[in-house]
């Protein structure tokens, strides 16, 4: 099977047109693959490397450095729980315990039905609304356990 569709290839070409070097295209290319497939598998990473005419090591060295490039499969929705200091003061641990109990997963895990993946995140820059989480790019602040139940219902 062709690992990168022509569509993705042209998207990469288009999205990285302003890059003066091939290296500079790595992150954008990986982000494009991830947007389409949810994560970056070994095979697709190699395909990106081939396409950019770089080695797998060059591309993977970059991919594994950044926390928003997923090198393992993730669920349909990714829950980022802020575990930094203001949220910690305001009850991060209760929030985590509650989500873990509800979904039966801890950090780094995905629910068996593939619905949610749970990950920690650095300060979300929403400390005035601590404790805060982000699901698929949407911020949810001033959380309480009840609120979380309500919010999770919105993600199938």
């Amino acid at each position: 099977m062709e690992m990168l569709s022509d569509e993705i290839k042209s998207e990469i070409q288009c999205g990285t047109g302003a890059c003066p070097t091939r290296r500079c295209a790595i992150l954008e290319a990986l982000e494009i693959v991830q947007r389409r497939h949810g994560w970056v598998s070994d095979e697709r990473l190699k395909a990106v490397a081939d396409f950019l005419n770089l080695t797998v090591e060059e591309v993977d060295g970059v991919a594994t450095f950044y926390n928003r490039i997923f090198r393992r499969p993730v669920g349909r929705h990714v829950i980022l729980v802020c575990d930094s200091v203001s949220c910690w003061i305001m009850g991060f641990e209760n929030i985590l315990v509650h989500i873990t109990k509800r979904l039966g997963i801890g950090f780094g895990e995905t629910t068996p039905d593939g619905r949610f993946t749970l990950l920690p995140i650095q300060c979300l820059g929403a400390c005035e609304q601590a404790p805060a989480i982000m699901i698929d790019g949407t911020l949810h602040g001033d959380l309480t356990p009840d609120k979380i139940d309500e919010i999770l219902k919105g993600y199938e």
Partner: protein, 424 residues
């Protein structure tokens, strides 16, 4: 009191679009810059305004701009970069500024680019700032359409292209040289500080990096002048500042106040004081990588020099309050775990030392601490201190630890003698 930065920010509604922004005086400073001011005029204005960088280090902005080499004998293109990576624990001011008024940042950036003769700019924004990025994208498109960006801006012959880069994540990306590496598609490890980035930065070209809040001030300085800007402040640094407070206060939030406002005023008047039932014990005045200040420091003015004199750092000006129902050891453990995780791994003291301090703090918190542990922690504050590591992440990480060992020593000792956390 004047609040130039947040005057037109209303959290309840969409930010001003380009036409609305123009109606309240937006892009007037840009027009004036390009049509009737020279680059030297504006540079002098910025110098005279005593504006200091709002990204954490407080470097005088005018001086930084003037360290860009003269354009006649340096390679091109020349870059300006906005650091919108905001991940300092406790900091959320740049998000408010971008979400609230994206055109203000764009205008400041174009003026900056004009002054230092740069033709390409990047806004480097963290991936979780989705709303801010969306609003920026729209504003950038509007500015292109209106001819404030692109080719021959306002007929002046000045060209400027602005790109938005959404980061793939990691706290270290906010460090200037690591950010450059990240933009080039490398792992975001810092670079040597010499030559300076202004001489050899992005792809080896002259590169100027500024924080979001720093550049948001520029249109106002051009518009109303250096004397006006200085008059906004209660100290010799010019301007207002977005101060923030989080933790167990009655009204966590952010407010634009004169530079030099006291910690007490910010905490008690604006943040409403501590919540009922808890008492104030200390505050990290400038974000997670600054030293604790305590009761005796409440009347310290929030400006770079005063906070430094009090033994801490102004940092981002976003405070985190510690209360008496929160364990200081637990709080410092949380911070050191953050820094350990965010260490880029490039230099040994930080890569090995931070996880070690985090483990010791965890042991103390769990009641497994040994009397010698405090000595080990103290030695780390020296071994990972300024000048011992490749960048400022590790020394910053040691600031809350070192000051906690000073101000909350009894709490550490109690954990060790009682073999448990008194707060659990």
């Amino acid at each position: 009191m004047e609040r130039p930065l947040t005057n037109h920010i209303d959290k309840g509604r969409e930010p001003l679009n380009l036409a609305e922004y123009e109606r309240v005086g937006g892009y007037k400073a840009l027009r004036e810059s390009l049509t009737s001011l020279t680059q030297e005029n504006i540079l002098q204005l910025v110098k005279d305004s005593n504006l200091r960088g709002r990204g954490g280090a407080g470097f005088p902005t005018g001086l930084k701009w003037s360290s860009m080499p003269s354009s006649s004998n340096s390679p091109r293109p020349r870059y300006v970069i906005v650091d919108a990576d905001e991940m300092e624990p406790g900091a959320f001011k740049d998000r408010i500024l971008i979400e609230g008024n994206p055109h203000q940042l764009i205008e400041g950036m174009i003026i900056c680019a004009y002054v230092v003769d740069s033709e390409i700019g990047y806004i480097f924004i963290r991936s979780e700032y989705t709303l801010a990025a969306k609003r920026l994208k729209r504003a950038i498109a509007e500015a292109y359409e209106k001819g404030y960006l692109g080719f021959n801006i306002l007929g002046s012959g000045f060209n400027f292209e602005l790109r938005l880069h959404i980061s793939s994540g990691r706290y270290i990306c906010g460090e200037g040289t690591a950010l450059t590496n990240s933009l080039e598609g490398n792992r975001a490890v810092p670079r040597h500080k010499t030559p300076r980035q202004t001489e050899s930065g992005l792809w080896g070209m002259p590169t100027l990096l500024n924080n979001v809040e720093t550049l948001c001030n520029i249109p106002h300085i051009v518009d109303k002048g250096a004397e006006w800007f200085k008059s906004l402040s209660k100290c010799k640094d010019g301007g207002t500042k977005i101060f923030g407070v989080s933790g167990k206060v009655k009204k966590p939030g952010a407010w634009e106040l004169p530079m030099g406002t006291t910690i007490r005023e910010i905490l008690e008047e604006h943040a409403g004081g501590m919540r009922d039932g808890v008492r104030f014990r200390g505050v990290l005045p400038g974000g997670g990588s600054t030293e604790f200040l305590v009761e005796q420091h409440l009347d310290v003015q929030m400006d770079y020099d005063s906070v430094q004199k009090a033994g801490s750092r102004f940092g981002t000006g976003t405070m985190i309050a510690l209360d008496d129902h929160t364990c200081p050891v637990g709080m410092v453990h949380n911070l050191e775990s953050f820094f350990a995780r965010e260490s880029c791994g490039w230099c040994t003291p930080c890569r090995e030392g931070l996880p070690w301090t985090a483990r010791i703090l965890k042991a103390i918190e769990d009641g497994r601490g040994e009397p010698d542990d405090l000595k080990v922690l103290e030695s780390h504050t020296k071994l990972l201190g300024p000048g011992r590591t490749f960048c400022a992440l590790a020394p910053g990480a040691m600031e809350p630890l070192q000051s906690a060992l000073k101000f909350f020593r009894e709490d550490f000792e109690r954990h060790i003698t009682d073999k448990r956390c008194p707060w659990r």
